[in-house]
């Protein structure tokens, strides 16, 4: 059985399309990532799947329940962490958790094993008000609250946005552990580097899915040649690279990446030569390792 099936779902606000015919499936027990920038439609998709919004077109099922007809069943069975960490700022850590446990008809004890790893980190602060926690701590508490009723599917809408890199990394470790408990997870993020933490990802932009694959296959099927280039003056480098035919170039970390279109072949020395002819020095050209970000940029072109 699939954890989530979305078929051609569409949603518009005041005539402006936010989601356009999006289809994907999430297998049971996998971490499925929706990767894309703000305004790509991620939140709308989450809200449709969690029965908070009605789709304008298409259909979707969560754990074989229909998102329109069986909304009550879905609400009983899923965990949801909205984009804004939804906690009561004036309640303590423990009070928040206890409250959400009761709302979901369970107790902290009953499913403690699920949240244990996360909660031990929060325990020293259990009498602190949620509003006084750091971003990373808030995020962990929100996850505990979303998990406390042992949901079948967990929806996490941009859980790592605005959280520092240390907490982000810890968060993904926690998701890996949850996966072992056979909870299916749908997670969205604007950070490309987090894509590799997912089993499968959908790259999404302007309400449409660009590609769905495992991170490994996505990188493998990149197709184009990719070079990484460096020179003494980065600004000039990017200017000069724009004039190389049949290529796309863009800044990438301390390098610039040059993507050569499929039907053209080019080798490193050609590029180096071109750069030197244009007065750049300390030129360095090599094969680059393809990342999800390169794939995304390639799909956007």
């Amino acid at each position: 059985m699939k954890a989530v099936i979305a078929e051609n779902i569409s949603k518009q606000y005041d005539g402006k399309p936010a989601v356009e015919k999006v289809s994907f499936e999430v297998n049971e027990g996998e971490i499925f990532g929706l990767i894309g920038p703000d305004g790509a439609g991620k939140t709308s998709i989450f809200r449709i799947l969690t029965t908070l919004l009605l789709p304008d077109g298409g259909s979707a099922q969560v754990h074989h329940w229909d998102v329109v007809k069986d909304w009550r069943a879905i609400r009983n069975a899923v965990g949801y962490m909205p984009g804004k960490f939804s906690l009561y700022q004036d309640l303590t850590v423990e009070e928040n958790l206890h409250f959400f446990a009761t709302v979901f008809n369970t107790t902290i004890q009953e499913n403690y094993h699920l949240i244990e790893d996360i909660y031990v980190q929060l325990e020293p602060f259990k009498n602190r008000r949620a509003g006084k926690l750091s971003g990373g701590m808030k995020q962990k508490l929100a996850l505990c609250c979303a998990l406390i009723h042992k949901p079948k599917v967990l929806f996490l809408d941009e859980p790592t946005t605005g959280v520092d890199p240390v907490s982000r990394r810890e968060f993904w470790e926690m998701l890996k552990k949850l996966k072992q408990q056979n909870i299916s997870i749908v997670v969205s993020t604007p950070y490309m580097d987090e894509a590799s933490m997912c089993d499968r990802i959908a790259l999404i932009q302007s309400g449409s899915i660009l590609s769905i694959d495992t991170p490994q296959d996505l990188v493998k099927n990149y197709g184009n040649q990719l070079f990484r280039v460096k020179a003494n003056d980065r600004y000039r480098l990017l200017e000069v690279l724009k004039s190389v035919p049949s290529t796309k170039s863009y800044a990438f970390g301390e390098y610039a990446h040059v993507s050569v279109e499929k039907d053209h072949q080019m080798d490193a020395s050609e590029i180096a030569q071109h750069l030197q002819q244009n007065g750049l020095t300390e030129v360095e050209v090599g094969e680059a390792e393809v990342t999800i970000e390169d794939c995304f940029i390639n799909l956007l072109h």
Binding site: R75, Y88, T102, V103
Partner: protein
């Protein structure tokens, strides 16, 4: 049921932890009652009184000296001509006039009945009634002191100038009650529900087995209880500090208050369903609810003096009806028979707003 209790407990925690709001909730009624109470009693002290003594006899002299002796009045001047009243009022030299007609003592002694006339500048109706009450009391005091075998009666004939109906005047306690309940129930309820929307917690609550409508129900319980506590404190203050007694049935008064609180809560819920941010909810509560309460309940400004369209508007202001009810029970000591119509109107308003709230309540976000 357990879930509902936990929810209600959570709401109480919110209220109790927010010390500033708590202070406003309980401090405001007390401060308002005291301010209204003392401003009014101060105002009446040392009021300038014009006396027109056409009798010039012993009884009239005695009354004048009694009035003079009271702390409430200063006698601006004593004249003979009634024509002086208008001029004196207009120049602001005096706020009231006491007219003792010719043959005052003779009538009193022979017929055992005499008349006096009290004229008051009722452009400030509150003030005018208080003056009337005090003057009447002084005169009554005088007749009692005569202590004769047959009771003497002086009939004060009261005339209010400039605002003859004087309906806006009487007691401020019912007005303050209406005002406070409006503020607490409508604004606080609306804000607390909208806050859940703004914080995103409503999203999580919606995606839970908890019935959405129960979110609302559990929100109103704490405010209902807080409001009843406020009623108790206002009434205690008015009875023991300001000396305004409750003439009617206390239980009936509480019952009617509970009804009005329900009306306010239904309004609060309605606002919360229609708005998305705390700011808007607050603005609507203040402008749409509180202002009409002050203007149209009859507590500050007499409704009878308003032009017809405004009088019509006042009919849809719940506070107006509650104000009448409380006045009837508390001041006049009347029973349910006197206020059933007003109660029914409040009930109607409550049902109407609850109805459209439930109809508009969304189990989804948009």
């Amino acid at each position: 049921m357990k879930r509902l209790l936990v929810f209600i407990k959570k709401e109480f925690t919110h209220v109790l932890r927010d010390k500033k709001t708590l202070l406003i909730l309980f401090g405001m009624p007390i401060v308002q009652v005291l301010i209204f109470g003392f401003v009014l009693s101060n105002e009446v002290k040392n009021t300038d009184l014009l006396v027109i003594d056409q009798a010039q006899d012993r009884a009239s002299k005695e009354i004048i000296s009694k009035v003079q002796a009271s702390e409430y009045f200063d006698i601006a001047s004593v004249t003979f001509d009634v024509q002086d009243v208008e001029a004196s009022f207009k120049k602001g030299k005096s706020k009231a006039a006491l007219i003792l007609p010719k043959d005052f003592e003779k009538n009193l002694m022979t017929k055992h009945v005499a008349q006096v006339q009290i004229l008051a500048d009722a452009s400030d109706p509150n003030h005018a009634t208080t003056i009337e009450n005090y003057l009447t009391a002084i005169i009554r005091d005088y007749t009692n002191s005569l202590n004769a075998s047959m009771p003497y009666t002086i009939i004060p004939e009261v005339r209010m100038l400039y605002n003859p109906q004087l309906k806006g005047a009487p007691n401020f306690v019912p007005g303050v009650m209406a005002l406070i309940l409006m503020l607490v129930c409508v604004m606080m309820t609306a804000i607390s529900i909208v806050r859940e929307k703004e914080m995103g917690t409503m999203e999580v609550l919606l995606v839970s087995p908890f019935k959405p409508i129960m979110v609302i129900v559990s929100k109103v319980v704490p405010y209902f209880i807080l409001s009843m506590l406020n009623i108790v404190s206002i009434l205690l203050l008015s009875v023991y500090v300001l000396g305004v007694p409750i003439k009617g049935n206390v239980l009936l008064l509480f019952g009617e208050s509970a009804l009005f609180i329900s009306t306010c809560l239904s309004l609060g819920i309605f606002i919360s369903i229609k708005t998305q941010t705390q700011q808007v909810a607050m603005l609507i509560s203040l402008m749409g609810m509180l202002l009409p309460t002050v203007l149209f309940s009859g507590f500050m400004f007499p409704i009878e003096n308003m032009p017809f369209p405004l009088r019509m508007i006042s009919n849809i202001v719940p506070a107006k009806w509650f104000y009448i009810i409380v006045k009837d029970i508390m001041i006049k000591g009347l029973g349910f028979a006197a206020v059933w119509k007003e109660s029914l109107i409040l009930m109607g308003i409550t049902v109407f707003f609850l109805g459209i709230s439930i109809k508009n309540f969304k189990i989804r976000l948009a």
